[in-house]
């Protein structure tokens, strides 16, 4: 078996390597059995020379840029056609792909084509003697599942942002990890660093630390990226271009307090309760989970999460939100999180500072009354 680990990188709109690709490279490095194992980055696209050269400056990374007219814009078909023959020939252990919109689109098909294992939306892993054991959320984050590949090659997609924060991964080994490493709340993008395997306890869950200086890479002259070009690929799918995000008034971004509605509010008529609660705070706004926007209880512009807005208010009150990762992706940076949910196992409670296990429709009026009382009390005292 080839010890090599492959990363499928992508280019951001500005022609730079996408931040998720840097995160992926760090992830790939931490999967190695030893620091001598090579990391091979494949970068498909058109006009990607600069991005490939940029990636090639990272230490311990060999880069192959795949140039092709058919790769000018992302297409699952073209990506699979261009990548599969190269990958099949190499028999790599792991092919690391980002679990973003494009990665989730082509990775499962690529795995089938290669006869490889496929493990998606990975959040954490631990290294055992037989290799890494990956862990991911199931049942809207209520349970964690640990899974291992049982094929020569495995396509692994990494949840974007999972390795950015020290507190994200969780596993039975969480405690060991927490004791052994200093966690960071820092939101900046993780930059690759040499993974010092000796430091990791054999069963420890690995999280990666940040080291900014290394983006510059080796200053002793950048090593060149290998560039290959692929002939035109006949495609069934015809790209018709990107449609811009609808321009929306972003009062969510400015809000200091967000009262956010989930499916658990039970219906449009109960949004009024949330509004009344929000009204008691200054600079407050209403937000929502995707389920609420899908149901038409609130317009799409209220949606918070991976495919909605990212917010980080001083206070986030999640009302009847289960805490699926895609929602957490948009709000876990909030400074103080309060969750109200009738299910004590709900995943939202794991990111909450304060948890209230209650029926919303009866609890919110009590909360509104209590908040009003305290506000008036404050006003009296200030007089």
């Amino acid at each position: 078996m080839n010890a090599e680990i492959v990363v499928i990188a992508e280019v951001a709109a500005e022609g730079q390597p996408a931040p998720v690709s840097l995160e992926l490279i760090a992830f790939a490095k931490s999967l190695r059995r030893n620091a001598a194992e090579p990391i091979r980055v494949f970068l498909p696209g058109r006009g990607i020379g600069a991005a490939a050269a940029e990636l090639a400056r990272l230490p311990g990374v060999a880069v192959t840029g795949i140039e092709g007219e058919s790769l000018a814009s992302y297409s699952a078909e073209a990506w699979k056609e261009a990548l599969a023959p190269l990958l099949a020939a190499r028999k790599t252990r792991f092919i690391c792909v980002s679990h973003n919109a494009n990665g989730a689109d082509f990775a499962p098909g690529l795995a089938v084509r290669l006869g490889a294992a496929c493990i998606t939306a990975v959040e954490a892993f631990r290294i055992e003697a037989e290799g890494p054991i990956f862990s991911l959320s199931i049942l809207k984050g209520k349970l964690q599942m640990e899974i291992v590949p049982e094929a020569e090659t495995a396509v692994v997609t990494l949840l974007p942002g999972a390795f950015r924060r020290g507190d994200a991964p969780s596993s039975p080994m969480d405690k060991a990890r927490k004791d052994g490493t200093n966690t960071t709340q820092n939101e900046t993008v993780l930059l690759p660093e040499e993974f010092r395997r000796k430091e990791i306890p054999p069963t420890g869950v690995t999280t990666l630390k940040e080291k900014k200086s290394e983006v510059q890479g080796d200053r002793a002259g950048p090593p060149a990226a290998e560039m290959i070009s692929v002939p035109d690929i006949p495609l069934k799918t015809r790209p018709l271009g990107l449609l811009p995000a609808p321009d929306e008034a972003a009062d969510l971004a400015a809000a200091e307090v967000i009262v956010s509605a989930g499916r658990g509010i039970g219906g449009e008529e109960n949004i009024e309760l949330l509004r009344r609660l929000a009204f008691l705070f200054s600079r407050a706004a209403i937000g929502a989970s995707r389920a609420v926007c899908d149901a038409g209880w609130l317009p799409c512009r209220y949606q918070i999460g991976q495919t909605g807005k990212t917010v980080s208010p001083r206070l986030y009150i999640a009302c009847g939100i289960s805490g699926a990762l895609q929602h957490l992706a948009g709000m876990r940076g909030s400074q103080y999180i309060v969750a109200v949910n009738r299910d004590p196992q709900a995943a939202i409670f794991r990111v909450a500072d304060v948890a209230v296990v209650e029926e919303l429709v009866s609890f919110l009026p009590l909360l509104i009354a209590a908040c009003r009382k305290h506000r008036e009390g404050a006003a009296e005292a200030g007089r």
Binding site: A101, C118, L143, I147, V148, L242, Q345, L367, K373
Partner: protein, 257 residues
């Protein structure tokens, strides 16, 4: 047109969940199972296409143990024409690679013009089955689809996929094709009484998974576990009014109110 909708039966995530003695399976208290919500959108989309293209047949398919027949009944009561149950015994959930191989073995050469799946299953959250099935069948595929139109000649389909930050990508592909649908593409309807009555008695087609070519298993579940509650989380106790009072106090202490 002939449309296949892939439907998964998933546990109701609100019901208390217990992990089985083997550490690799879970049980739902009260056995609360229902249709994966993303698949409700797929059923609805198929029904809307049938309304636009009279003569279209909508078939629903699910892989699972005997209990999975309930989601197929549900699809029939929503208005699907036929239901196919790939009966796979065993309570532990099959992984997407296995499901995609089983569905592909059944579907091959059956002449579907369009196959619809959900963008992900609410239980395993792997988002693999749709694109894997497309690959096995050699069909063009788009995932996370939030809009779809088929021109009157019924030869192609134009779709919009959802990317990050609300951005969308439009593409056109020839039929047959496979789409995995993102939530919000439509508003799923409620079952009509006439369909509910028909669904009770309508026979379903049952195919034993064991009679299909053995699917590959390239991944193995090692362990399921309940993540520990975050140490920092303060669970309020007492009566609802006491909790409300305490929370309001906390807001004051933090100078939020």
């Amino acid at each position: 047109m002939k449309i296949l909708v892939c439907i998964k039966q998933v546990p109701d995530a609100e019901a208390p969940i217990r992990i089985g003695a083997d550490g690799r399976s879970f049980a739902v208290t009260g056995g609360a199972w229902r249709m994966n919500r993303f698949d409700e959108f797929a059923v609805e989309e198929a029904l809307q296409i049938r309304e636009a293209f009279p003569g279209t047949v909508v078939e629903a398919l699910s892989v699972g143990p005997a209990r999975a027949a309930a989601v197929l009944r549900r699809a029939l009561s929503l208005g699907a024409d036929e239901a196919i149950h790939i009966l796979r015994e065993g309570e532990e959930e099959p992984l997407p690679g296995e499901v995609a191989a089983l569905i592909a073995a059944y579907v091959r050469d059956r002449g579907y013009d369009l196959i619809l799946a959900g963008v992900m299953a609410e239980d395993d959250m792997q988002a693999q089955t749709g694109p894997m099935l497309a690959e096995r069948l050699g069909l063009p595929c788009a995932t996370a689809v939030v809009a779809e139109t088929i021109p009157p000649n019924g030869m192609t389909i134009r779709v919009e996929r959802e990317l990050e930050g609300g951005l969308r990508e439009a593409l056109e592909m020839p039929l047959p094709a496979l789409l995995s649908l993102q939530s919000g593409i439509n508003r799923p309807r409620y079952p009509a009484l006439s369909h509910v009555l028909r669904a009770r008695t309508q026979p379903m087609m049952t195919v034993r998974a064991g009679d299909l070519p053995a699917p590959p298993r390239r991944e193995r579940v090692v362990l399921l576990f309940l993540p520990a509650p975050a140490a920092k989380t303060l669970f309020l106790t007492g009566t609802p009014a006491e909790k409300a009072e305490r929370l309001a106090e906390l807001f004051r202490e933090k100078a939020l109110l």
